[in-house]
Symmetry: C2
Subunit: 426 residues, 2 copies
């Protein structure tokens, strides 16, 4: 399916006017950067890079797209001709997926002609802003959960396709699995789930429902115990499944109190290995508050797919340099009140001291080597139109673990604060 | 593209266990209702109904979907066989799209066997929760804007496919147009847009950029005037386009002050008909604050596509009745602490007095006629598996206008408050 119309109307009118004026073929450098972190957050997480590369590969104007643009007089024939043979032929550099990020530094750099690079603004920002918002929230939840696994189960609380991307972003930030089958099928994210209250209500009794579930899914399944009376349900569950019962899920009430009571009951019934999974409007704060409760796993829905109060990252796509009439690359920047941009092609490095991050270094001499004690953050993703930066999702997940481990411990305070390291422009 | 895997894992394990226990074929009634309105809102707007019908038509398990489920051992062979021939054969009733809604009443009712109806939970909720959240926020913005048109331009701030649905939802709630070309091509939403700062920066001077844009798009275009200096840009704009200049756009600074200054300048230059469009992180509050400013149109991005603080509606999909072992339909309800449900198939009506809504009436005798002075809210969408409730998007847009016009004036207070009419269960 073509991604070409996942684009703002004005990208095409700009293209049209630039083709007419002759400026369309000027070499241009666009940079993606975040104006700020989500309110009070200490760090952000880059996610969506792999999906950007997929969208780039599918960015083609076929007959259907061209007919729409012609019929609605969005552009003229000269522009339609350009679009019909559109292939991005430039270069893209970017932070690797899973890397932490800080405000102002170039998370992605797109170089090409103005014509070919301007068209990609909308779809690149849509993907990075959404996926990074989810991953940034998910990373905090993963840290709050410590060694306990989290299942992402928020599909029903977000757009049906956003749900698939959200499951992917949460997984790369450290979630253990997702309820979303399409995320399993498309991205190989492990999927999980057993039953809802409807299953218990469907049967003539909770006893019958548990029996049916155990018969079908085995004693190692997770039984949902809060449809009627938790204590009674736990007794029925162990009576039917025996001490081999995999887990019970509690989805309502005071989860800390309920977890303690259920643990005591399970232990008393000999089900000492049966795990307790809790769900019900959890976010990073609620997870942290349950740290001392006998909980073995969390299910998180609404809060992770909506970025826990920050449903979008604040990334923008700005022209920072372009060829002048003589063919020389010139830095450019707008001066809009309160929203200025920094001109010039940049490079970014993470400065480290004894393995701990101390600053995001942004230089305007892209060719310079990494400053001593720092590692480079920009990697080649597309070279001359050819995608070279693909990697397995597992690599991004692994990278996130290392990247977050480098941050000062203050990064994990859940209270509101500033970025944990400064962005230094040199 | 099949929508069948836009589904939570547990819907399929429940199906598997219910097929094994024999309960899968019990007749079942699921209802979608909102637990509450978004925080402080006076009313909600139902959106996504048409997209739900599209998703239902595409809910088919083909070879790719079945292979994934088999290879990942999500279900067993008996379940795969059921899925291979899955076609929803039941009935669906619902609020018509664009209708206002209030907490607790059945926004959608799905009747069929448990097996066929349970599978639809995730995709129905994803669509209704997302689209209704956007439309509910958009409706407030439209009212705040009065007769001034609003362009939806938030695609870059949300998932790339969610952006298309958001543009559709904003349009049905009264937005004039969208920047999103896919929303134009898929749903016929009018699209709009002219240029960004990058276009000005691309050219050697603002003068050159404006000239190029006017040459290509005509004097009736919208010129972006805040790249460098607003006053200078306005002078250049009128110098080049003359008094026929369509509009100028201001995207930064104190918009009220800037609008007054620019209006005065335009009038002084004879461009008395040139419109002023403002953009830059507008939400319903900022729009209302600009009511007295000489603004002719708004562009709204982030806040509308993220539901202006409420990115998801609080809709759930609950089993309210099912056949018992003797074939009789029984009301069922869970008792979970703080999250109980109300058993029994329901019907919903809007009570009116002198044309003004006074209550959302919910009855548990679905066959009864509309109480006097009320109009029925549930309409047939699917009959015996056949989709009968499709309608043009324009009809939903028109309905929203009438539905919102019926609400007490208090509905339009932007301050936080309770639902403007009560939901009365009889």
């Amino acid at each position: 399916m073509s991604s070409a119309l996942l684009t703002d109307h004005y990208e095409l009118t700009m293209l049209r006017a630039a083709l007419a004026s002759g400026a369309a073929n000027r070499r241009a450098v666009f940079e993606v950067f975040a104006r700020h972190l989500p309110l009070g957050r200490r760090y952000g997480v880059v996610a969506g890079t792999g999906r950007v590369l997929d969208a780039l590969a599918d960015f083609r104007f076929g007959d259907a797209e061209l007919s729409f643009l012609r019929d609605n007089q969005v552009v003229n024939e000269q522009t339609l001709e350009f679009l019909a043979s559109y292939r991005f032929s430039g270069d893209v550099y970017g932070y690797r997926e899973g890397e932490c990020y800080f405000p102002g530094s170039p998370i992605m750099v797109v170089e090409g002609t103005f014509a070919e690079a301007v068209l990609l603004e909308t779809v690149i920002l849509s993907i990075l802003n959404h996926d990074s918002a989810i991953a940034s929230a998910a990373s905090r939840m993963v840290h709050a959960a410590g060694s306990r696994p989290i299942i992402e189960m928020g599909s029903r609380r977000t757009h049906e396709r956003a749900a698939v991307a959200a499951a992917r972003a949460a997984y790369l930030a450290g979630f253990a699995s997702t309820s979303n089958l399409m995320a399993g099928s498309t991205y190989g994210v492990p999927t999980a789930g057993t039953s809802a209250h409807a299953f218990t209500l469907l049967h003539s009794s909770e006893y019958d429902a548990f029996q049916a579930q155990i018969d079908s899914l085995g004693a190692d399944t997770t039984l949902l115990v809060d449809t009627y009376d938790v204590a009674k349900a736990v007794r029925t569950a162990v009576e039917l499944a025996g001490p081999e019962l995999g887990a019970v899920r509690i989805d309502s009430g005071d989860l800390a109190v309920a977890a303690h009571e259920v643990r005591q009951m399970l232990d008393g019934l000999g089900a000492t290995k049966t795990r307790i999974v809790v769900t019900s409007d959890l976010d990073e704060y609620a997870i942290a508050a349950l740290a001392a409760a006998p909980v073995d796993g969390y299910g998180v829905g609404t809060s992770v797919v909506t970025g826990s109060g920050a449903p979008t990252a604040a990334m923008v796509y700005k022209l920072v340099a372009r060829e002048d009439a003589e063919g020389a690359l010139q830095a450019v920047a707008k001066k809009s009140v309160g929203k200025p941009s920094r001109g010039g092609r940049k490079n970014a490095f993470r400065a480290l001291e004894d393995g701990t991050a101390t600053a995001e270094l942004v230089t305007t001499s892209p060719g310079d080597p990494a400053p001593e004690g720092s590692r480079p953050l920009l990697h080649e993703l597309v070279r001359g139109g050819e995608i070279v930066g693909r990697e397995p999702l597992a690599a991004a997940r692994h990278r996130h673990q290392s990247s977050v481990a480098e941050l000062p411990v203050l990064a994990h305070q859940l209270s509101q604060g500033d970025a944990v390291i400064p962005t230094v422009f040199t």
